[in-house]
């Protein structure tokens, strides 16, 4: 039995991975569970492990090249086993390989069949906070390479989910395939079949009418000026994380009807408290950001109406507060999560925030450490930004952008005085959060920040 090594989904949102480094050479003996290679996902560098024993007979993906999830990248087999058919079947063009990504149901089915598979894979949707790991398929060595049936990605399915129709848009398999071939958003197509099912003729009509324009996400929009490449400019290929940022943020700013609420908080008492705490000794030192995080978490616990996810056909309000905290790293940004932030003491938040930021910069975060947030905070104060708007991290419905703390003249009780002030701007998904809802949350936050002793209540 040969074992096919495929590019695995090592993060919940990973669609392709770049092979950073092979750790085994062709001809090396490998054991089940041993690390074969380092793979850069859209988030981090992860280890790809062997799912079978034998000799690493063939490496099919050169270092620094990327492969879509599901593509065959190596073969493990007995030293004398004939693997020609397997290897021959792997030489597919990227397009063919793309379709080889196992559909979640296939993966689950296969796992059930092969007892003792190393981990139970889940679909992207289920695997919130966990990597989903399709097991490498066992295949008879000399058998013909299986022709992958075209499979829909889970994201396709979830994209079709907003509809009054029992939560999903009905469409025939053919209509789905045609829409996907033409980059058409089925949500924009009117179905004429039973129960509103979208069928072939509806897709054809939509194409003819020019409706259902391509999804904003992956659409290739001609970039003006791209023809001016030359010595005055420098072309840098997209890293996985940059690609993911582009895709995710475009998904956000496109379909999310966002509005912004800005407030300026008085930070005098926060500053006093911080100074007083620091005077007690180094162990009591906390940053402004730590205090803001604690305050936001406390306010969210009182306002579940903004601590929510937009899920297309429903809104999920959370009782627990998992606070995402945007961290700038060399390659872009990532949002590690402080889980149950509202129940943690300021010292715990401070320690955890520091640790997460450090590990984010080292790209050592595990997938479960950067997924599952219910609300996020982004702070550019340390860069001297007075005020900015942050982009919502879907499916969350709000994000708070923290500006710099600055001293400025403020009228207090009829007299101008110098006060420490900080501006925050909340981006709200209007599908879930209305103006007054967001304002009430900021009101609570103001009360907490301007009276920080309430945080110890």
């Amino acid at each position: 039995m040969a074992t096919k090594v495929v590019m695995e989904a090592l993060s919940p949102t990973m669609e392709e991975g770049r092979l950073v480094k092979w750790l085994k050479n062709e001809g090396d003996q490998v054991k089940n569970g041993e690390t074969l290679a380092e793979v850069e996902t859209d988030k981090a560098i992860m280890e790809l492990v062997a799912r079978g024993d034998g000799v690493l007979r063939k490496r099919l993906l050169p270092e620094n090249e990327a492969a879509p999830v599901g593509q065959l990248i190596a073969v493990i087999a007995a030293p004398d086993e004939n693997i020609d058919a397997l290897v021959a079947g792997a030489g597919g063009a990227p397009a063919a390989a793309q379709s080889a990504a196992p559909a979640p149901s296939e993966v689950v089915a296969k796992t059930n069949e092969s007892a003792g598979a190393s981990s139970v894979p889940r679909t992207t949707a289920q695997a919130q906070g966990e990597a989903s790991m399709p097991p490498q398929e066992q295949a008879p060595a000399a058998g013909p390479a299986p022709t992958p049936a075209p499979s829909r990605q889970p994201s396709d399915v979830s994209r079709q989910s907003a509809d009054g129709n029992g939560g999903r848009t009905r469409s025939s398999p053919l209509a789905r395939r045609m829409a996907s071939d033409r980059g058409l958003d089925l949500q924009a197509v009117q179905g004429s079949g039973p129960g509103g099912r979208i069928i072939k003729r509806d897709v054809e009509a939509a194409v003819a009418a020019g409706t259902g324009v391509p999804q904003a996400a992956g659409a290739a929009i001609p970039v003006p000026g791209s023809q001016f490449a030359g010595p005055d400019s420098r072309d840098v290929p997209l890293t996985q994380i940059r690609k993911t940022i582009a895709r995710r943020l475009a998904e956000s700013i496109g379909p999310i009807p966002t509005f912004y609420l800005t407030a300026e908080f008085d930070m005098e008492r926060v500053a006093e408290m911080r100074t007083a705490m620091a005077a007690m000794g180094d162990e009591f030192k906390v940053s402004f950001n730590d205090i803001v995080l604690k305050a936001v978490a406390t306010a969210l616990a009182q306002h579940p109406e903004v601590n929510a996810h937009w899920l297309g056909d429903k809104i999920r309000y959370f009782n627990r507060v998992h606070l995402g905290m945007a961290v700038a790293i060399e390659e872009g940004l990532i949002t590690p999560v402080i889980f149950d932030a509202d129940r943690k003491r300021m010292s715990e938040i401070s320690r955890e925030a520091k640790e997460l930021a450090r590990r984010a910069r080292d790209r050592k975060l595990k997938p479960e450490e950067y997924t599952g947030s219910t609300f996020s905070v982004s702070n550019l104060g340390m860069f001297g930004i007075d005020q900015f708007t942050a982009i919502i991290n879907p499916p969350e419905v709000g994000i708070l952008a923290i500006g710099a703390l600055e001293e400025k003249p403020v009228v207090v009780d009829g007299a101008v005085s110098s006060r420490k002030r900080m501006r925050v701007t909340m981006s709200c998904d209007h599908r879930v959060v209305d103006g007054a809802t967001g304002a009430k949350f900021l009101q609570t936050l103001r009360r907490l920040i301007e009276n920080p002793l309430m945080l110890v209540y």
């Binding site: 049936a149 025939s172 398999p173 053919l174 004429s192 079949g193 039973p194 069928i199 072939k200 003729r201």
Partner: protein, 327 residues
Amino acid sequence: MPVITYRDALNQALREEMQRDDRVFLMGEEVAVYQGAYKVSKGLLQEFGEMRVVDTPITELGFAGVGVGAAMVGLRPVVEFMTWNFALLAIDQVVNSAAKMLYMSGGQFNIPMVFRGPNGAALQLSAQHSQAWESWLAHIPGLKVVAPGTPYDAKGLLKSAIRDDNPVIVLEGEMLYNTKGEVPDDEEILIPIGKAELKREGEHATIVTHGKMILLALQVADQLAKQGINVDVLDLRTVRPMDVEAIAASVRKTNRAVVLEEGWEICGVGAQVVDYIQRECFDYLDAPVVRVHQADVPMPYAKNLERAAKPDAAKTIAAVKKVMYLE
């Protein structure tokens, strides 16, 4: 090109194969002196003598077993059942001896044998004598099952069945014996077992069927053409092994399929066809596949009820329109 009956086409096939190979012999009830209950063996006793055209008693299990034994020692028997309804009595020999001998003897004994006779309903023969058995027979590993719907196919498939080195079931039809069609007399007709034929080409939907129902499907295709609907009529010709590639090719083209068969719905041949379609053509389907079949009851004797129970043109047309979202 000569136009002959389905009955004569079978007769020609038997004669040609008996002339070609003297190990081939015919055995069954009334096949010799009476020239066949449906006159399929007309003239054969006179030409080949009573050693090769053998009348049997009314003992289906017995003569089916004699056939298996003869095949084991190198003859090539053609066993005629007066109808497949009577073959129920012989099913142990068909299923447990003929189909399994090659396997259970470790490859020592192949069974080059044909079981043939009329299958399915005729007119008002009531519940026990109006049954289509192909799903029963096609269920068995070790058997090949062919169901010709035209004189040409009858001749070509029976000849191939006789030349096959393993047991082949040939399902004929009482209502088919008198039907006529072109059968060339200047060439040898051998139709490969396991190959379907596109009997008519269209673009809007596919009707997959076999045996007697081919005539119905072609009639339906004519009526639909007058309404501007053009269908592929795919004749499986062989029920086992089934020509999955031909089914997939047609359905991928039309995106819609109706599966028509004479027998009952549950575990019918059509169920297998639908399975192949969902496996091979899932992303090509624009509508759920619709099946047309006999009502899930023993065949009624009353003429009106029998008509209501059988698949017919109206039901098939409605099915085609359903997969096209026209009704």
